[in-house]
Symmetry: C2
Subunit: 494 residues, 2 copies
């Protein structure tokens, strides 16, 4: 089980985690949970039902659809099961859905509309903001031949992003179709699969590299700032121009973009079919009331995953976000999807029209965190444990506060000095500390400290003596009045 | 990547999933989500904060604490990362917490109280109700030396089970301590680790096998019904008797059990220390107001995981549950926990007192499902798509219903005949179907069908002709009154 070639680790060296699998603390988790709840709430309201598949699939059921072809293990975490068969962790939520639908067969009924939310795993090189485990939240309709089903996905994606707080102009869903791309590939005479893929990859970078960079990638190749050279698609100057004209056909409205495209796409059958798809989507988007600013038609959209067969959609944060650290971050893509009519056919032999949308929960949560939209959460009331011999006093006070609906805990460290216990309450962001010492026990009272007010008042105090005298934010109340006194302070702070 | 020795699969053969990784549908997921929400809600109210770690840990950080020592890969799903190091999916939520605490060091502050909920993976033989991926929901206090911290875990576990609907007598948390067990092991002269483990494993089966079966396992060995032979611990008759007397010291109240135990445990130092631990816990349980029926002291409790160092707790469903299928199921353990003072010390060298409680969400959800406590959920309003050329009509009606807060979808299959679309609405358990055909479009109306009432009335109808005449549950309303008419029906059904 352990690596025989390297020295075994011991002690502190062991306390490390594999790269790309972040630990998540309360603020981020709270943001993530809110996103999942809100987005699945939208999916559900649009009629989708909940389905979750397991983490593992057989490798041959997952297929080889990941865009990163440079890695020998194809970007998944795979291992051999007891029976020697290879299994792998899912890299998205779509491939397992296709397996589920194929396995369930006709009993499932069509259309089958499901949503899911959970982690996916990609065995890629981790980096800042690039994880190997991240959450997605998907909706899919299986058994939906009409392009209005794609329009529904797009409009619902936009509504989900609005539901989590995105405003007009802060995000856009860009829509394209593989058929239109194929039409252009045909029009510039790109015949072999490698050239076609190189052109699509170049287009995919329009947003990041601009027209100049993409022109290099369409032609001979491009040397980036870090000195890495990417071989180009090898198109001639005329073809490069033609592809760029197509890629830049985007206009302010869907109607205007479609008019530009009708000119740029030329006469190929694929091109015409692509325009017709986009027109059907645009019409259905009107019916669904999707605002122009939320959904754009953009012929440069590619989407990396190779299982898409028709319309593809990319959801992006448009503006850069300023971090609390003062830096500026460009989040870019936060989701997308497309039509994958052939994914179920891999199993059944029969083409099953399907379309889906996926939102990258981890990316979106990270964006919200950068924007400072993940407030520090309130901590519990802390009941200090001042009686080394009888912790039951503090325990029963905490139990009484909880019974009254308050969030409360008794201090669980050793029977430390009060200073250490107060420091703990501060670190937990507690609203109130409750103390019962010998005095209070004898008198039948408790001492309650408002930690927010205490901290404010303490700032104005100069000496330790004055502090002890003033006892900022502190009061003594009869035991019977404790719950109400604590509740008043907690509610005043909220 | 694929198994070179076997024939490659194709077509329908591919549509299969690895054993032990179940797909989950809406009813079960709904139950599971409710359990997680309720139980983490209790943990949170008791002052715990949310922390989630990643799915993978380094194998050497996870340690070898799984009880199943018969398997070469020690029960985990492990693989070699790019850098040749072995990583594995977590088998519980506790071992990663220990890594997290050790890695964070003193900055984290103590006590550190966290809750977590998520999947864990065990590479064990799957079977009915035995999965290789299942959910746990844990709370832990790290930096808690006092046994009242264990009492808190136990009382909170009981409260969490009550919060999800368990009543007095339906469940119990059984409490024991490793020290007491060690005292008995010492008292019967069990010195080597293998014998000690065999005795603990035998005790662990008291519940299932009764005193006779356990006596066999403590002595020579036992042949079970299926013909499998388990080698025994090899104790002599006197020792077997002594261990059984200890294991059966449980009485109606914690106080009575402690009195029995004080006699049975003998004079060993470990035995006395164990009694003292349980007395401290019993005292704190009083302070916390934990009912006698919820928490029992039971010297036969072992808990399989080997990292426990002191008190251990086992949560069980007491009664057998009757399935909707008429069969009787014994769920048994649904959670537990214990003190693991040495788990962090593996990393830091310093013992860090810690205790935790874990509830098996998947087991509990399965129990609720067997009991029929996972009702079928209501489906969405379905707007039929009757105009092949213009799906926008149905889309905009669905959008209008959603805007009014209703759950609604337009039919997304092909522009099928109405019968097929109505069948779809039935299968989705829809409350209402909405239809706009040519007639309705011309008149500015919609036809609304109450599917529940329709089904009831249809039962009384004899012929197709009569059916067409009566149109059970169906009415035509002006377009402007649609939303209110649909809402009335949905609310009446709810």
């Amino acid at each position: 089980m352990s690596d025989k070639d390297s020295k075994p680790l011991s002690g502190k060296q062991l306390a490390r985690k594999p790269r790309g699998f972040p630990d998540k603390r309360e603020g981020l988790l709270h943001a993530q949970a809110r996103l999942v709840e809100t987005i699945t709430g939208v999916y559900r309201q649009w009629g989708f039902e909940h389905l979750e598949t397991g983490a593992f699939e057989y490798v041959d059921a997952l297929g080889k659809f990941l865009p990163d072809t440079d890695r020998p293990n194809e970007g998944v975490f795979a291992l051999q099961d007891d029976d020697e068969q290879w299994i792998a962790l899912r890299y998205d939520l779509t491939a397992p859905l296709a397996r589920f639908v194929a396995e369930a067969g006709q009993d499932l009924g069509r259309p089958f509309r499901r949503y899911a939310a959970g982690p996916v795993w990609r065995n890629e090189k981790p980096g800042p903001g690039r994880f190997r485990e991240f959450w997605q939240c998907d909706a899919d309709t299986v058994g939906a031949p009409g392009f209005h089903a794609d329009a529904e996905m797009i409009a619902m994606g936009a509504e989900a992003l609005r539901a989590v707080g995105m405003k007009s102009g802060e995000f856009a869903i860009r829509v394209n179709t593989r058929r239109l791309l194929n039409g252009v590939l045909d029009a510039v005479g790109a015949e072999n699969a490698e050239t076609r893929l190189a052109i699509l990859r170049a287009l995919d970078k329009l947003d990041r590299l601009g027209a100049g960079g993409v022109a290099d990638l369409l032609g001979e190749g491009r040397l980036d700032e870090s000195g890495d050279y990417t071989k180009g698609a090898g198109l001639g100057p005329e073809e490069v121009k033609r592809v760029l004209a197509f890629a830049e056909a985007g206009a302010a409205t869907r109607e205007a973009t479609l008019a530009n495209l009708a000119k740029a796409a030329g006469d190929s059958e694929q091109g015409k079919a692509g325009i017709a798809e986009l027109e059907a989507i645009a019409g259905a988007l009107e019916g669904l009331g999707a605002p122009e600013s939320d959904v754009l038609i953009d012929p440069s959209v590619v989407r990396g995953l190779e299982y898409y067969t028709g319309p593809v959609y990319e959801a992006e944060l448009l503006r850069e976000v300023s971090g609390e650290d003062g830096k500026t971050y460009r989040i870019g893509s936060i989701g997308g999807g497309g039509r994958y009519d052939d994914l179920v056919a891999r199993f059944t032999g029969q083409s099953v029209p399907a379309t889906g949308f996926s939102i990258g929960i981890s990316r979106l949560a990270a964006a919200l965190q950068i924007m400072g939209d993940t407030a520090r959460l309130d901590g519990p009331v802390v009941v200090l444990n001042l009686d080394r011999d009888n912790p039951a006093i503090a325990l029963s006070i905490a139990a009484e506060l909880r019974k009254a609906g308050l969030r409360a805990e008794a201090y669980m460290g050793g029977a430390n000095n009060m200073g250490k216990q107060m420091k703990y309450a501060d670190r937990r962001n507690s609203p109130v500390a409750v103390m019962v010492g010998e005095d209070e026990l004898a008198k039948g009272t408790v001492t309650i400290k408002d930690l927010e007010m205490g901290a404010l008042k303490a700032k104005a105090i100069k000496s330790n003596e004055e502090y002890r005298e003033a006892r900022p934010g502190q009061m003594e109340v009869p035991r019977a009045e404790m719950v109400e006194a604590v509740r008043r302070i907690v509610e005043a702070q909220a």
